[in-house]
Protein backbone atom coordinates (compact mmCIF):
# COMPACT_ATOMS: atom_id res chain seq x y z
CA UNK A 1 0.00 0.00 0.00
CA UNK A 2 2.87 2.38 0.75
CA UNK A 3 3.82 2.62 -2.94
CA UNK A 4 0.31 3.44 -4.15
CA UNK A 5 0.54 7.21 -4.05
CA UNK A 6 -0.17 8.74 -7.45
CA UNK A 7 2.52 10.86 -9.03
CA UNK A 8 2.49 14.64 -9.15
CA UNK A 9 -0.34 16.23 -11.06
CA UNK A 10 -0.21 18.26 -14.23
CA UNK A 11 0.34 15.44 -16.73
CA UNK A 12 0.61 17.30 -20.07
CA UNK A 13 -1.25 14.64 -22.01
CA UNK A 14 -4.49 15.09 -20.09
CA UNK A 15 -7.25 17.24 -21.60
CA UNK A 16 -8.74 20.23 -19.75
CA UNK A 17 -12.26 20.04 -18.33
CA UNK A 18 -13.22 23.15 -20.31
CA UNK A 19 -12.76 22.78 -24.07
CA UNK A 20 -15.23 25.11 -25.85
CA UNK A 21 -15.11 23.34 -29.25
CA UNK A 22 -16.85 20.50 -27.36
CA UNK A 23 -19.80 22.72 -26.54
CA UNK A 24 -21.26 20.74 -23.66
CA UNK A 25 -18.17 21.44 -21.58
CA UNK A 26 -18.94 25.16 -21.33
CA UNK A 27 -21.67 24.90 -18.68
CA UNK A 28 -20.41 21.70 -17.14
CA UNK A 29 -16.80 22.41 -16.21
CA UNK A 30 -15.69 23.98 -12.94
CA UNK A 31 -14.43 27.57 -13.00
CA UNK A 32 -12.93 27.52 -9.53
CA UNK A 33 -9.46 26.02 -9.26
CA UNK A 34 -9.39 22.40 -8.19
CA UNK A 35 -8.38 22.04 -4.55
CA UNK A 36 -5.26 19.98 -4.47
CA UNK A 37 -5.18 17.31 -1.80
CA UNK A 38 -2.60 14.65 -1.16
CA UNK A 39 -4.01 11.17 -1.65
CA UNK A 40 -5.39 9.82 1.58
CA UNK A 41 -6.29 6.24 2.42
CA UNK A 42 -9.61 6.94 0.71
CA UNK A 43 -8.04 7.67 -2.67
CA UNK A 44 -5.38 4.97 -2.33
CA UNK A 45 -7.95 2.21 -1.94
CA UNK A 46 -10.56 0.84 -4.31
CA UNK A 47 -12.88 -2.11 -4.81
CA UNK A 48 -10.37 -4.50 -6.39
CA UNK A 49 -11.11 -8.17 -5.84
CA UNK A 50 -14.86 -7.65 -5.64
CA UNK A 51 -15.94 -7.54 -9.26
CA UNK A 52 -18.16 -10.60 -9.45
CA UNK A 53 -19.93 -9.69 -6.24
CA UNK A 54 -20.30 -6.11 -7.42
CA UNK A 55 -21.16 -6.38 -11.09
CA UNK A 56 -21.77 -10.00 -11.98
CA UNK A 57 -19.97 -12.19 -14.51
CA UNK A 58 -17.68 -11.11 -17.32
CA UNK A 59 -18.86 -10.45 -20.89
CA UNK A 60 -15.87 -10.86 -23.22
CA UNK A 61 -17.50 -11.71 -26.57
CA UNK A 62 -19.88 -8.99 -27.70
CA UNK A 63 -20.59 -10.68 -31.02
CA UNK A 64 -22.63 -13.45 -29.40
CA UNK A 65 -24.41 -11.62 -26.69
CA UNK A 66 -27.76 -10.82 -28.28
CA UNK A 67 -31.02 -12.32 -27.13
CA UNK A 68 -31.15 -14.94 -29.84
CA UNK A 69 -28.64 -17.40 -31.26
CA UNK A 70 -27.64 -14.94 -33.97
CA UNK A 71 -24.29 -13.31 -34.47
CA UNK A 72 -23.71 -9.57 -34.66
CA UNK A 73 -23.25 -8.01 -38.10
CA UNK A 74 -20.12 -6.16 -39.07
CA UNK A 75 -16.37 -6.45 -39.16
CA UNK A 76 -15.41 -8.79 -36.32
CA UNK A 77 -12.42 -7.55 -34.33
CA UNK A 78 -10.33 -8.51 -31.33
CA UNK A 79 -9.34 -5.67 -29.03
CA UNK A 80 -6.67 -6.63 -26.55
CA UNK A 81 -3.91 -5.02 -24.55
CA UNK A 82 -2.54 -4.45 -21.11
CA UNK A 83 -3.37 -2.13 -18.27
CA UNK A 84 -0.12 -0.65 -16.96
CA UNK A 85 1.03 1.91 -14.46
CA UNK A 86 3.37 4.73 -15.40
CA UNK A 87 6.37 2.53 -14.68
CA UNK A 88 5.03 0.07 -17.26
CA UNK A 89 4.16 -2.45 -14.58
CA UNK A 90 1.03 -4.50 -15.24
CA UNK A 91 -2.05 -3.69 -13.17
CA UNK A 92 -3.93 -6.93 -12.51
CA UNK A 93 -7.47 -7.19 -11.21
CA UNK A 94 -8.75 -4.05 -12.91
CA UNK A 95 -12.25 -4.14 -14.36
CA UNK A 96 -12.39 -2.97 -17.98
CA UNK A 97 -15.91 -2.04 -19.09
CA UNK A 98 -16.66 -1.13 -22.70
CA UNK A 99 -19.66 0.17 -24.61
CA UNK A 100 -19.99 1.11 -28.25
CA UNK A 101 -22.20 1.66 -31.27
CA UNK A 102 -22.89 -1.18 -33.70
CA UNK A 103 -21.35 -1.54 -37.16
CA UNK A 104 -23.76 1.05 -38.54
CA UNK A 105 -22.87 3.59 -35.87
CA UNK A 106 -26.02 3.24 -33.77
CA UNK A 107 -26.33 2.64 -30.04
CA UNK A 108 -29.21 0.66 -28.56
CA UNK A 109 -29.74 3.67 -26.27
CA UNK A 110 -33.21 5.26 -26.54
CA UNK A 111 -31.54 8.63 -26.81
CA UNK A 112 -29.87 7.56 -30.05
CA UNK A 113 -32.52 8.08 -32.73
CA UNK A 114 -30.64 8.67 -35.93
CA UNK A 115 -31.80 6.49 -38.80
CA UNK A 116 -29.04 3.89 -38.89
CA UNK A 117 -30.21 0.30 -38.30
CA UNK A 118 -30.15 -1.45 -34.96
CA UNK A 119 -28.72 -4.96 -34.81
CA UNK A 120 -30.89 -7.34 -32.75
CA UNK A 121 -27.82 -9.46 -32.13
CA UNK A 122 -25.62 -6.72 -30.78
CA UNK A 123 -25.85 -5.01 -27.42
CA UNK A 124 -22.48 -3.31 -27.49
CA UNK A 125 -21.45 -3.66 -23.87
CA UNK A 126 -18.88 -5.87 -22.21
CA UNK A 127 -16.65 -6.16 -19.19
CA UNK A 128 -13.65 -8.23 -18.21
CA UNK A 129 -11.07 -8.19 -15.43
CA UNK A 130 -7.34 -7.95 -16.20
CA UNK A 131 -5.28 -11.05 -15.50
CA UNK A 132 -2.04 -11.32 -13.58
CA UNK A 133 -0.19 -9.73 -16.48
CA UNK A 134 -2.63 -6.82 -16.67
CA UNK A 135 -4.11 -8.22 -19.90
CA UNK A 136 -7.64 -7.86 -21.17
CA UNK A 137 -9.28 -9.10 -24.36
CA UNK A 138 -12.62 -8.52 -26.09
CA UNK A 139 -14.11 -9.86 -29.28
CA UNK A 140 -16.50 -7.34 -30.78
CA UNK A 141 -17.57 -5.53 -33.94
CA UNK A 142 -15.82 -2.53 -35.41
CA UNK A 143 -18.19 0.34 -34.59
CA UNK A 144 -19.36 2.78 -37.23
CA UNK A 145 -19.00 6.56 -37.12
CA UNK A 146 -22.12 8.48 -36.09
CA UNK A 147 -23.40 12.06 -36.34
CA UNK A 148 -23.91 14.27 -33.31
CA UNK A 149 -25.25 17.73 -32.68
CA UNK A 150 -22.14 19.60 -31.59
CA UNK A 151 -21.93 21.62 -34.82
CA UNK A 152 -23.06 21.37 -38.43
CA UNK A 153 -22.08 18.04 -40.03
CA UNK A 154 -20.38 16.77 -36.90
CA UNK A 155 -19.42 13.07 -36.90
CA UNK A 156 -17.74 11.14 -34.15
CA UNK A 157 -14.87 8.99 -35.37
CA UNK A 158 -15.44 5.28 -34.84
CA UNK A 159 -14.68 4.63 -31.18
CA UNK A 160 -15.08 2.25 -28.28
CA UNK A 161 -15.70 3.71 -24.81
CA UNK A 162 -13.59 2.16 -22.06
CA UNK A 163 -13.94 2.48 -18.29
CA UNK A 164 -11.24 1.24 -15.91
CA UNK A 165 -11.69 0.77 -12.21
CA UNK A 166 -8.91 -0.80 -10.24
CA UNK A 167 -7.29 -0.88 -6.87
CA UNK A 168 -7.40 2.87 -6.22
CA UNK A 169 -10.09 5.56 -6.48
CA UNK A 170 -7.32 7.90 -7.66
CA UNK A 171 -6.43 5.78 -10.69
CA UNK A 172 -9.95 5.66 -12.15
CA UNK A 173 -9.97 6.18 -15.91
CA UNK A 174 -12.63 6.56 -18.60
CA UNK A 175 -11.46 7.01 -22.16
CA UNK A 176 -12.15 6.16 -25.80
CA UNK A 177 -10.28 4.02 -28.30
CA UNK A 178 -9.99 5.22 -31.90
CA UNK A 179 -8.94 3.33 -35.01
CA UNK A 180 -5.83 4.06 -37.10
CA UNK A 181 -6.22 6.03 -40.31
CA UNK A 182 -9.62 7.44 -39.39
CA UNK A 183 -9.84 10.90 -41.00
CA UNK A 184 -12.50 12.00 -38.51
CA UNK A 185 -10.12 11.97 -35.54
CA UNK A 186 -8.37 15.19 -36.45
CA UNK A 187 -11.64 17.15 -36.75
CA UNK A 188 -13.37 15.66 -33.70
CA UNK A 189 -13.73 18.11 -30.80
CA UNK A 190 -13.69 15.38 -28.17
CA UNK A 191 -10.50 13.75 -29.44
CA UNK A 192 -9.01 17.20 -29.96
CA UNK A 193 -9.43 18.06 -26.30
CA UNK A 194 -6.27 15.98 -25.97
CA UNK A 195 -3.28 17.90 -27.34
CA UNK A 196 -0.91 16.34 -29.82
CA UNK A 197 1.12 14.21 -29.72
CA UNK A 198 -0.71 12.67 -26.76
CA UNK A 199 -3.91 12.24 -28.80
CA UNK A 200 -2.17 9.38 -30.54
CA UNK A 201 -2.21 7.45 -27.27
CA UNK A 202 -5.91 6.96 -28.03
CA UNK A 203 -5.32 5.35 -31.43
CA UNK A 204 -5.18 1.56 -31.40
CA UNK A 205 -2.66 -0.28 -33.55
CA UNK A 206 -3.72 -2.87 -36.06
CA UNK A 207 -1.67 -6.00 -35.43
CA UNK A 208 -1.50 -8.92 -37.83
CA UNK A 209 -0.22 -11.15 -35.03
CA UNK A 210 -3.33 -10.48 -32.94
CA UNK A 211 -5.53 -10.99 -35.99
CA UNK A 212 -7.17 -14.42 -35.94
CA UNK A 213 -7.09 -16.33 -39.24
CA UNK A 214 -10.52 -16.60 -40.83
CA UNK A 215 -12.11 -14.92 -37.83
CA UNK A 216 -11.27 -11.38 -36.73
CA UNK A 217 -8.93 -8.44 -37.26
CA UNK A 218 -6.73 -7.68 -34.27
CA UNK A 219 -6.12 -4.36 -32.55
CA UNK A 220 -3.80 -3.63 -29.64
CA UNK A 221 -4.58 -0.92 -27.12
CA UNK A 222 -2.67 -0.53 -23.87
CA UNK A 223 -3.99 1.67 -21.09
CA UNK A 224 -1.67 3.50 -18.74
CA UNK A 225 -3.04 4.54 -15.37
CA UNK A 226 -1.60 7.17 -13.12
CA UNK A 227 1.58 5.91 -11.56
CA UNK A 228 2.69 5.28 -8.06
CA UNK A 229 5.42 6.63 -5.91
CA UNK A 230 6.06 7.07 -2.25
CA UNK A 231 5.23 10.76 -1.90
CA UNK A 232 4.04 11.15 1.68
CA UNK A 233 1.29 13.38 2.98
CA UNK A 234 2.90 16.80 3.38
CA UNK A 235 0.25 19.08 4.79
Amino acid sequence: MSDATPRPRGEPGQPPSLFPPYRSTVLRSPREPLVRIPPTLTELTGPAGTWDALMGPAIADLTRHGRGPGVALGQRIVVTGRVLDEDARPVPDTVVEIWQANAAGRYIHRGDQWNAPLDPNFTGTGRVVTDGGGRYRFTTIRPGAYPWGNHRNAWRPAHIHLSLLGPAFATRLVTQLYFPDDPLIEIDPIANAVPMPYRNRLVARFDIDVTEPNHALGYVFDLVLRGRDATPWEA
Partner: protein, 236 residues
Protein backbone atom coordinates in the same frame (compact mmCIF):
# COMPACT_ATOMS: atom_id res chain seq x y z
CA UNK B 1 6.95 -15.27 -35.60
CA UNK B 2 4.89 -13.09 -37.87
CA UNK B 3 1.89 -13.79 -40.05
CA UNK B 4 2.99 -11.18 -42.59
CA UNK B 5 4.79 -12.40 -45.70
CA UNK B 6 8.53 -11.84 -45.83
CA UNK B 7 9.38 -8.36 -47.05
CA UNK B 8 5.86 -7.00 -46.54
CA UNK B 9 6.02 -6.27 -42.86
CA UNK B 10 5.67 -2.62 -42.00
CA UNK B 11 8.61 -1.47 -39.96
CA UNK B 12 8.30 2.30 -40.05
CA UNK B 13 7.14 3.70 -36.73
CA UNK B 14 3.68 5.25 -36.66
CA UNK B 15 2.37 7.49 -33.93
CA UNK B 16 -0.22 5.44 -32.09
CA UNK B 17 -0.96 3.75 -28.81
CA UNK B 18 1.96 1.34 -29.19
CA UNK B 19 4.68 3.93 -29.78
CA UNK B 20 7.30 3.67 -27.03
CA UNK B 21 8.02 7.39 -27.44
CA UNK B 22 4.41 8.18 -26.52
CA UNK B 23 4.22 5.97 -23.46
CA UNK B 24 2.41 7.67 -20.59
CA UNK B 25 -0.96 8.23 -18.95
CA UNK B 26 -3.88 7.44 -21.18
CA UNK B 27 -5.88 10.65 -21.65
CA UNK B 28 -9.40 10.95 -20.31
CA UNK B 29 -12.39 11.13 -22.65
CA UNK B 30 -16.02 11.78 -21.77
CA UNK B 31 -18.49 8.98 -21.07
CA UNK B 32 -20.73 10.72 -23.61
CA UNK B 33 -24.53 10.55 -23.58
CA UNK B 34 -24.96 6.81 -24.15
CA UNK B 35 -23.24 5.22 -21.14
CA UNK B 36 -26.49 4.06 -19.55
CA UNK B 37 -26.42 0.51 -20.83
CA UNK B 38 -22.67 0.13 -20.37
CA UNK B 39 -21.90 1.37 -16.87
CA UNK B 40 -24.69 1.63 -14.28
CA UNK B 41 -26.10 -1.73 -13.31
CA UNK B 42 -29.37 -2.44 -11.53
CA UNK B 43 -28.72 -2.16 -7.82
CA UNK B 44 -25.51 -0.24 -8.32
CA UNK B 45 -26.74 2.54 -6.04
CA UNK B 46 -27.94 0.20 -3.28
CA UNK B 47 -24.88 -0.85 -1.33
CA UNK B 48 -26.81 -2.44 1.53
CA UNK B 49 -29.86 -4.18 0.06
CA UNK B 50 -31.37 -5.71 -3.02
CA UNK B 51 -33.28 -2.87 -4.65
CA UNK B 52 -32.57 -2.05 -8.29
CA UNK B 53 -31.77 1.64 -7.86
CA UNK B 54 -28.95 3.21 -9.83
CA UNK B 55 -29.68 2.08 -13.39
CA UNK B 56 -31.83 3.61 -16.15
CA UNK B 57 -33.53 0.61 -17.77
CA UNK B 58 -35.97 3.04 -19.40
CA UNK B 59 -33.20 4.12 -21.76
CA UNK B 60 -32.63 0.87 -23.62
CA UNK B 61 -34.72 -2.07 -24.81
CA UNK B 62 -35.43 -4.67 -22.15
CA UNK B 63 -34.18 -7.46 -24.39
CA UNK B 64 -30.77 -5.85 -24.39
CA UNK B 65 -30.46 -5.51 -20.65
CA UNK B 66 -27.30 -7.42 -19.85
CA UNK B 67 -26.41 -5.53 -16.70
CA UNK B 68 -28.19 -7.74 -14.21
CA UNK B 69 -28.66 -7.27 -10.53
CA UNK B 70 -25.49 -8.00 -8.65
CA UNK B 71 -25.42 -11.37 -6.91
CA UNK B 72 -27.12 -11.33 -3.51
CA UNK B 73 -24.94 -10.16 -0.68
CA UNK B 74 -25.12 -10.97 3.01
CA UNK B 75 -26.42 -8.66 5.69
CA UNK B 76 -24.43 -5.56 6.52
CA UNK B 77 -23.36 -4.14 9.85
CA UNK B 78 -23.94 -0.49 10.64
CA UNK B 79 -26.34 2.39 10.20
CA UNK B 80 -28.02 2.59 6.80
CA UNK B 81 -28.18 6.10 5.37
CA UNK B 82 -29.65 7.51 2.17
CA UNK B 83 -27.83 10.06 0.05
CA UNK B 84 -29.87 12.13 -2.37
CA UNK B 85 -29.02 15.03 -4.61
CA UNK B 86 -29.28 16.71 -7.97
CA UNK B 87 -26.55 17.60 -10.45
CA UNK B 88 -26.78 21.18 -11.78
CA UNK B 89 -25.00 22.94 -14.63
CA UNK B 90 -23.68 26.51 -14.82
CA UNK B 91 -27.16 27.92 -15.47
CA UNK B 92 -28.70 26.11 -12.53
CA UNK B 93 -30.39 23.56 -14.76
CA UNK B 94 -30.48 19.91 -13.76
CA UNK B 95 -28.12 17.68 -15.73
CA UNK B 96 -30.02 14.59 -16.89
CA UNK B 97 -27.11 12.59 -18.27
CA UNK B 98 -24.59 12.43 -15.46
CA UNK B 99 -23.36 9.49 -13.43
CA UNK B 100 -22.18 9.42 -9.83
CA UNK B 101 -19.81 6.98 -8.15
CA UNK B 102 -19.18 6.71 -4.43
CA UNK B 103 -16.48 4.95 -2.46
CA UNK B 104 -16.58 4.63 1.27
CA UNK B 105 -15.28 2.73 4.27
CA UNK B 106 -17.45 0.30 6.22
CA UNK B 107 -19.03 1.22 9.54
CA UNK B 108 -15.87 0.20 11.39
CA UNK B 109 -13.72 2.43 9.22
CA UNK B 110 -12.09 -0.13 6.93
CA UNK B 111 -12.00 -0.12 3.14
CA UNK B 112 -12.97 -3.33 1.45
CA UNK B 113 -10.26 -3.39 -1.21
CA UNK B 114 -6.98 -5.21 -0.91
CA UNK B 115 -5.14 -1.91 -0.62
CA UNK B 116 -6.38 -1.35 2.93
CA UNK B 117 -4.10 -3.72 4.80
CA UNK B 118 -5.20 -2.83 8.35
CA UNK B 119 -6.21 -6.31 9.44
CA UNK B 120 -7.03 -5.22 12.99
CA UNK B 121 -10.24 -3.55 11.81
CA UNK B 122 -13.04 -5.89 10.73
CA UNK B 123 -14.17 -6.25 7.15
CA UNK B 124 -17.92 -6.43 6.58
CA UNK B 125 -18.39 -9.34 4.17
CA UNK B 126 -21.75 -8.01 2.99
CA UNK B 127 -20.50 -4.52 2.26
CA UNK B 128 -18.13 -3.46 -0.51
CA UNK B 129 -18.55 0.29 -0.29
CA UNK B 130 -18.53 1.08 -4.01
CA UNK B 131 -21.66 2.39 -5.72
CA UNK B 132 -22.65 3.79 -9.08
CA UNK B 133 -25.81 5.62 -10.12
CA UNK B 134 -27.00 7.22 -13.32
CA UNK B 135 -28.98 10.34 -12.50
CA UNK B 136 -32.64 10.38 -13.50
CA UNK B 137 -34.27 12.62 -16.09
CA UNK B 138 -34.36 15.47 -13.55
CA UNK B 139 -30.72 15.12 -12.59
CA UNK B 140 -31.46 13.33 -9.33
CA UNK B 141 -29.68 10.43 -7.70
CA UNK B 142 -30.20 8.31 -4.60
CA UNK B 143 -27.81 5.94 -2.86
CA UNK B 144 -28.40 3.62 0.07
CA UNK B 145 -25.23 2.84 1.96
CA UNK B 146 -23.72 2.64 5.43
CA UNK B 147 -22.56 5.60 7.42
CA UNK B 148 -18.80 5.17 7.10
CA UNK B 149 -16.52 5.01 10.09
CA UNK B 150 -13.55 7.29 10.55
CA UNK B 151 -10.37 6.33 8.76
CA UNK B 152 -6.77 7.44 9.23
CA UNK B 153 -5.41 10.05 6.89
CA UNK B 154 -2.83 7.90 5.18
CA UNK B 155 -0.59 4.95 5.76
CA UNK B 156 1.72 5.99 8.56
CA UNK B 157 -0.33 9.08 9.40
CA UNK B 158 -2.90 8.35 12.10
CA UNK B 159 -4.66 11.70 12.07
CA UNK B 160 -8.31 10.78 11.64
CA UNK B 161 -10.58 11.92 8.85
CA UNK B 162 -14.21 12.73 9.54
CA UNK B 163 -16.71 10.24 8.09
CA UNK B 164 -16.89 10.89 4.35
CA UNK B 165 -17.38 9.35 0.94
CA UNK B 166 -15.26 9.89 -2.12
CA UNK B 167 -17.54 10.98 -4.97
CA UNK B 168 -16.82 10.89 -8.70
CA UNK B 169 -18.95 12.80 -11.22
CA UNK B 170 -19.10 11.74 -14.87
CA UNK B 171 -21.33 12.77 -17.73
CA UNK B 172 -21.83 14.10 -21.19
CA UNK B 173 -19.77 17.26 -21.40
CA UNK B 174 -17.45 16.16 -18.62
CA UNK B 175 -14.21 15.24 -20.36
CA UNK B 176 -12.67 14.08 -17.10
CA UNK B 177 -14.18 12.76 -13.91
CA UNK B 178 -14.69 15.44 -11.29
CA UNK B 179 -13.68 14.22 -7.83
CA UNK B 180 -15.32 15.57 -4.70
CA UNK B 181 -16.26 14.38 -1.21
CA UNK B 182 -19.44 14.12 0.78
CA UNK B 183 -19.21 14.87 4.49
CA UNK B 184 -22.14 14.55 6.88
CA UNK B 185 -22.97 18.03 8.16
CA UNK B 186 -24.05 16.76 11.60
CA UNK B 187 -21.09 14.48 12.11
CA UNK B 188 -18.27 14.55 14.59
CA UNK B 189 -14.83 15.29 13.25
CA UNK B 190 -15.66 17.79 10.52
CA UNK B 191 -14.05 20.58 12.54
CA UNK B 192 -10.59 19.03 12.40
CA UNK B 193 -10.73 16.99 9.22
CA UNK B 194 -7.36 17.47 7.48
CA UNK B 195 -8.85 17.48 3.98
CA UNK B 196 -11.68 19.91 4.75
CA UNK B 197 -9.02 22.14 6.28
CA UNK B 198 -7.47 22.52 2.82
CA UNK B 199 -10.73 23.84 1.37
CA UNK B 200 -11.33 27.61 1.51
CA UNK B 201 -13.70 28.14 4.42
CA UNK B 202 -16.38 29.88 2.38
CA UNK B 203 -16.67 26.89 0.07
CA UNK B 204 -16.63 24.07 2.65
CA UNK B 205 -20.41 24.05 2.88
CA UNK B 206 -20.59 22.60 -0.63
CA UNK B 207 -19.14 19.39 0.80
CA UNK B 208 -21.29 19.22 3.95
CA UNK B 209 -24.51 17.32 3.30
CA UNK B 210 -27.36 18.39 5.58
CA UNK B 211 -29.67 15.81 7.14
CA UNK B 212 -33.09 16.29 5.57
CA UNK B 213 -35.10 13.26 6.70
CA UNK B 214 -35.15 10.23 8.99
CA UNK B 215 -35.72 6.48 8.56
CA UNK B 216 -33.31 6.09 7.11
CA UNK B 217 -31.31 9.19 7.93
CA UNK B 218 -31.19 11.01 4.61
CA UNK B 219 -28.56 13.51 3.54
CA UNK B 220 -28.80 15.93 0.63
CA UNK B 221 -25.72 16.42 -1.52
CA UNK B 222 -26.38 18.58 -4.56
CA UNK B 223 -23.56 18.88 -7.06
CA UNK B 224 -23.06 22.18 -8.91
CA UNK B 225 -20.66 21.67 -11.79
CA UNK B 226 -20.05 25.31 -12.60
CA UNK B 227 -20.80 28.85 -11.46
CA UNK B 228 -22.73 30.08 -8.40
CA UNK B 229 -22.32 27.71 -5.49
CA UNK B 230 -19.92 25.55 -7.47
CA UNK B 231 -19.07 22.36 -5.65
CA UNK B 232 -15.48 21.98 -4.52
CA UNK B 233 -13.67 19.53 -6.77
CA UNK B 234 -10.30 18.07 -5.93
CA UNK B 235 -7.06 17.62 -7.74
CA UNK B 236 -6.17 14.21 -6.34
Amino acid sequence: MSDAPEGLRRTAPRADNQDPALFGQTPWQTVGPFFHYGLPWKGGADLVGASGIGARPDLFPAEHDVLHLAPPRGPVTGEVVALVGTVFDGEGKPVPDAMIEIWGANAAGRYHGEADTRTGIPLDPGFIGFGRAAVDARGGFRFLTLRPGRVPLAPGDDRRQAPHLAVGVFGRGLIKRLATRLYFADSEGNGDDPVLALVPEARRRTLLAPRIAEEPPTYRFDIVLCGDGETVFFDL
